[in-house]
């Protein structure tokens, strides 16, 4: 999503690492204070991004069933000395409810933070930062540039393939295909007229791309300069220090 707030301006490498680091330290939290603290921090980051909270809530939607399932599992299967309600293997207790609430908050934290990363960082920036982060692996002959190139091409193909799919679906609909009608077998069969043209066109797009790159003299390996330079600035250092401070506070307020 386009935007221009502080979070957007952070160096994508830093954002990428901080996001993963944060997902890691979420697991340090183990009481109301520490979870509340992390939640406040994430909401503050969301506020800094100046993106409508609705987009983050939308990010939760695809995970809804997974969250519900995990929460219910925790709620009914946590063993307890003082159950409120008992039915066979199912136990409902205060501890179980507290733990499931923690799990829920943990999901929300992780999803919000990763949504924050994907909303404020373009795919190309993410693949650039992966390349930059993996650079040390070059020492052991790991093909970092090639992997990064594959990544950015794959990302580039996603919108292309979505366009192509809608186009082909429309064309087959116009020829009388009804998607999502009839029994399971019929439904699966109705996807053949999409999948085959989609494969054919992705191969031809890939082939064209290869020729276009070659005719412009693409060679992988050493000495390629960068069009987009990543620059580490003061604010990125500050962001990193904030993360360290947060870890410190977290270690203090969590219970042992």
């Amino acid at each position: 999503m386009p935007g221009d707030s502080l979070i957007y301006k952070l160096d994508p490498r830093g954002k990428f690492l901080i996001t993963f680091y944060f997902i890691g330290i979420v697991f340090l939290a183990n009481n109301v204070a520490s979870y509340g603290f992390l939640l406040l921090f994430v909401l503050f980051a969301v506020y800094l991004s100046k993106i409508n909270l609705g987009f983050f809530l939308k990010g939760l939607r695809p995970m809804f069933w997974l969250i519900l399932f995990t929460v219910l599992l925790q709620m009914f299967f946590t063993p307890s000395e003082h159950p409120i309600w008992n039915f066979g293997v199912l136990t409902l207790s205060k501890e179980g409810m507290v733990i499931s609430a923690y799990i829920f908050v943990r999901f929300v934290l992780i999803i919000f933070v990763s949504t924050l990363l994907t909303l404020t960082t373009t795919p190309i920036e993410i693949s650039d930062s992966i390349e930059s982060i993996l650079k040390p692996l070059k020492a052991i002959k790991f093909p970092v540039t090639q992997i990064a190139l594959m990544l950015s091409i794959a990302l580039r193909f996603v919108p292309l393939l979505i366009d192509e799919t809608t186009k082909i679906m429309d064309a087959q609909r116009a020829r009388g295909v009804d998607f999502g009608e009839g029994g399971l077998i019929k439904r699966i069969k109705s996807f053949v007229p999409i999948l085959i043209p989609l494969f054919v066109s992705s191969f031809s797009i890939a082939y064209d791309l290869a020729i276009a790159m070659e005719s412009r003299g693409y060679r992988d390996g050493e000495g390629r300069s960068k069009y987009r330079m990543l620059k580490w600035e003061m604010r990125d250092t500050v962001a990193a220090i904030v993360m360290i401070v947060i870890t410190g506070i977290l270690l203090m307020i969590r219970s042992y």
Partner: protein
């Protein structure tokens, strides 16, 4: 079938901050059994407009009346088959819709979806392959072994095979060689003469001048001009507004009028141009 758009607005991604208007309060009538051309810049809403005719898109507000069917935002996705059988649609680069292992099966795919029996579909495939100017021997081949131009013809045959009353063509000749283009356009004109309604989206003004009865000019999701080709190409406002360019013959006439020729109305086809020139030379 007569097609009527009544105050149709279509917003892409209506619930998103990135929403954009594909169509902005469009009202237009497309006459039955006529050849109507829709022109306008890329992104002006031409494709969005025609996608409403067989309910691939539904209006955000307003209604589209196609024959005895009315399509509004509430139209259900079920029961659209009769409509889609009557409105055939040839998409841009239709060769990308081919998927069967033989050309014959691919042409039969549409008709059989619309409930035609296998024998009827087969005979229809034989008729259609000839109609689009390919030899019957291609029926047994895989569509992926054909050249691009041949694939295009097979795809067009696949749409015509269900015998639609209205045929929508979205730049059907893009990327074809000049001879192929003329053949294909001639075929569509012939189909119209046989009593079908043809709607053509094109960027080729010569095709508009040569084949169309009516023209609709679109700009930014709105209809900015309507009329016969001769009316539209003589419309100062549209020309100076950069919303359309002139066909070759009209451009030639424009250059001639800077010399000693005079045209009350720009001739738009080669025939009109040559008659005019002949008259003026003989008249002097």
């Amino acid at each position: 079938m007569e097609i009527i758009f009544k105050n149709v607005t279509h917003a892409y991604e209506a619930n998103n901050p990135l929403a954009s208007l594909g169509l902005d309060d469009v009202s237009v009538k497309i006459s039955d059994k006529k050849f109507t051309a829709i022109i306008g810049k890329t992104g002006s809403g031409k494709s969005t407009l025609v996608h409403h005719i067989n309910a691939l898109l539904k209006p955000t507000s307003g209604s589209v009346i196609v024959g005895d069917r009315t399509i509004t935002s509430e139209t259900n996705n079920k029961n659209l088959k009769p409509l889609r059988k009557n409105v055939g649609m040839v998409f841009q680069f239709p060769e990308s819709q081919l998927f069967e292992d033989t050309v014959e099966k691919d042409i039969m795919f549409g008709p059989m979806n619309f409930g035609m029996s296998e024998e009827d579909a087969k005979s229809s495939a034989h008729d259609m392959i000839e109609l689009v100017g390919l030899d019957e021997k291609y029926l047994e081949q895989s569509p992926f072994d054909l050249s691009g131009g041949q694939m295009r013809r097979v795809a067009i045959a696949g749409v015509l095979a269900s015998n639609p009353e209205t045929i929508i063509l979205d730049e059907p000749t893009a990327g074809l060689d000049p001879v192929g283009r003329k053949e294909i356009m001639g075929l569509f004109k012939k189909l119209q003469m046989q009593g079908r309604t043809i709607i053509l989206i094109t960027h080729n003004m010569d095709d508009v001048a040569d084949y169309a009865d009516d023209v609709i000019v679109m700009h930014d999701g709105k209809i900015v001009g309507e009329g016969t080709p001769s009316e539209v190409f003589n419309d100062e406002k549209l020309l100076t507004g950069g919303m359309l360019t002139l066909p070759q013959s009209a451009r030639f006439a424009q250059r001639l009028s800077q010399k000693r020729f005079k045209f009350d109305k720009l001739p738009i086809t080669l025939d009109e141009l040559s008659t005019e020139i002949k008259q003026q030379i003989n008249g002097d």
